[in-house]
Amino acid sequence: MTRNQARVLVVVPCYNEEAVIAAVVSDIYQVKAHHQLRLDVLVVNDCSTDRSIDIIRTLPCLYLDLPVNLGIGGAMHAGYKYAWRNGYDIAVQMDGDGQHPANQLMTILTPILDNQADVVIGSRFIEKEGFQSSAMRRVGINYFRRLNQALIGQTIYDSTSGFRAFNRRTLEIVNRYYPDEYPEPEAIVLFGLSKLHIQEVPVIMRERQGGVSSINSSKALYYMLKVSLGILFVYARLVRKNLTH
């Protein structure tokens, strides 16, 4: 795969991001022009209740308008399925709230373009630069790191990071199954057990530019429980599947 031949789809999940979505998309197009990539942007509007969809319609990008709210997992699944069906070589997730700066896009893409990894995760914690997220959230992230270590034997420092790139091999797996609700940590276990090569690269994230996080403090406990269960069950399911094959 040479750099200018690989078809890249940047999937931007969008839920009530009317304030920043236009800037996010135009940033990506700037990177596209600068590096001369064969890149498309697909905004997935997850049934936003604000004017997001009106703004998305005016943008020079592809978009999916989900008829019901599916949450981040269902929205990303829609994007990845789209990438798989339309023959893209690489899919990148980039949040619609401006947390993932487009100028880091090449950092995420390079290991896949060079065939060094199947999954690339942009991590805040490798070089500890930029926005580091709240203390509570970091406790959770440490917990997921240990859980992933125990289950798949790979250390992923930033397992909740949504800034990711997948190659076509990964897309085939994700096309079939992608976790719901809070998919990021669970997806790592899925990738690890599918024998995909996961690479983490340091990125500098910003604090969200607009919108509200899907996780607030009252939901944190539910989040931990739900994701832990998800991880354990996806592990159980895949280990059983691997044994029967």
Partner: protein, 144 residues
């Protein structure tokens, strides 16, 4: 002791049959699917059996070593309810997955239709003296 149980027997039989009639009506009207009605029909049959067979509950309790027969009703009912609730959770999960897939497919179709109308309006916008076909950017939809 002899006359009192007869009335309650009649009442419970009427109750059970009314319930069964209600279930059948729901199925006939198409508001309840057969697969979910089975459990309710079974429940009514059990009700009818015990309404007719007066000593039944006591005899079964005795057989199982349950000293207080009504507690057998409770344990049976609670088990049945829990089982059915789990079954409903399974059904809901299945529905949720199906809805998710459907929503995604609807989104793809909407996107295809939008893309087509954009292309068509782009073709129409070009006056007929222009012989060259409209060139749509490689893999990008033209903004309207």
């Amino acid at each position: 002791m002899a006359s009192l149980p007869i009335t309650i027997q009649i009442i419970s039989l009427i109750g059970a049959f009314t319930f069964m009639f209600f279930i059948f009506r729901l199925i006939v009207k198409g508001r309840l699917r057969e697969e979910y009605s089975i459990v309710w029909i079974l429940c009514t049959i059990i009700l009818i059996v015990f309404a007719v067979w007066r000593k039944g509950l006591e005899q079964i309790s005795l057989l199982l070593g349950v000293y207080y027969p009504p507690s057998l009703i409770f344990i049976g009912a609670i088990f049945a309810i829990i089982f059915f609730l789990v079954h409903l959770s399974v059904v809901i999960s299945k529905l949720q997955n199906q809805i998710k897939t459907l929503a995604q497919e609807v989104a793809y179709l909407k996107q295809q239709i939008d893309q087509q109308t954009v292309k068509e309006s782009a073709v129409r916008a070009i006056p007929s003296e222009n012989d060259e076909p409209t060139v749509v950017a490689e893999d990008k939809v033209l903004p309207q």
